[in-house]
Subunit: 256 residues, 2 copies
Amino acid sequence: MKRLRWQVAAAAAVGLALALEVLPWVLRWLRSGRRRLRREVLFFPSQVTCTEALLRARGEAPAGEQAALPDCCLCGLPHGESSLSRLMRALLAARVSLELCLFAFSSPQLGRAVRLLHQRGVRVRVVTDCDYMALNGSQIGLLRKAGIQVRHDQDLGYMHHKFAVVDRRVLITGSLNWTTQAIQNNRENVLIMEDDEYVRLFLEEFERIWEEFDPTKYTFFPQKKKSHSCAPLVSRAGGGSLSWYRTLGTSSRNQT
Amino acid sequence: MKRLRWQVAAAAAVGLALALEVLPWVLRWLRSGRRRLRREVLFFPSQVTCTEALLRARGEAPAGEQAALPDCCLCGLPHGESSLSRLMRALLAARVSLELCLFAFSSPQLGRAVRLLHQRGVRVRVVTDCDYMALNGSQIGLLRKAGIQVRHDQDLGYMHHKFAVVDRRVLITGSLNWTTQAIQNNRENVLIMEDDEYVRLFLEEFERIWEEFDPTKYTFFPQKKKSHSCAPLVSRAGGGSLSWYRTLGTSSRNQT
């Protein structure tokens, strides 16, 4: 009897050990539908490619899948992927909301993509710089005409951000102004990240600016601005500007 | 005898099970010195604060620790943290190398920080835009004078990046041009990330540009450039520009 008990105990112990080791694998197998978070960097200048297929009506390519770029289009441009097409795909993945915080916006392809999202019922909000929204070729007027909400600054400084947030889930940010000149000629970078913490912080920044640029506070003549970029070497004390910086919760690794 | 064998087997199985479960905890305990990866976003405009203490000689604040900003300084400026001071700290943490890829660089504080790193023996390399490096107030001349290697483009497009890589480990990138005007007046963002994959890709971009801007290929008169930012609505086919985009290996989470 005692021998039987020990046999049972031994078998149970072995079974327990195996179960404890196998359990994580089982859980991982059950969670095998998990999706990888998107992390990507796009470098420019971008090859000039045909992006017409990306601007077709929704339904031809399910969300998250790449629409085939046909060779039957006779435009004469290459039909492969490019940094511009990947940026457009990231935008056109929007299904619920799109926040744009852009210093300058004159790219017709990106403008069409944003208007298409608005037509599809995506809530689009745009913040831009008041000087650059008025330049020849700006897409801002077309966005307003389509009924998209656009707000702008009236500050001395520039609204120099170049970011977008898609569905409150994907952050698109970098050095790129959304202009054809920049896309096709400049050395630029654009990060595309599914990152809850960065998205949250950039959305907070967007909402701060959105509220501050309340149209009920607009005056007719914006204040004259300093020249862009390389200003004379003058340090100005005070100025009452707030600084905003956030340290995110971080992941860990072995110390090397 | 058989009973004893079963007793031993059972004990061994239990011990094995416990050991397998305890082992990961033991390893984690041994690795308890691991450091959290840095992830931060800085928003501008930055409050104007005194940054003199950050520019003292090395030794007063060990690497990774924050040097105290004294109130005994009589400059009249606030001595707290600001987005600029945090950016300077990220730079001044460099101990081995610093790659700068900057469209415009005129901030005297950031210029002093970079020259200080060079004096400390950090290998500093700078890539910049040929038009903006020549503007009044640019720090590029002071960097060259100090013996720092600086290369520039001669392209039609702008070298519009605004990134830095510290010790081949920390990426600093965003919308911010390193000018006093931008730091103190513009709405800008700067990401600071310890991220092996992003660092690797940005370093590859830097090395591509560094090699391409080989000084032995300089001509005396750079080609005239298009105006910055909002260009007329002209799409140019061809151009022979390469597109560079990279999708990073990603982390996982449960699908929601």
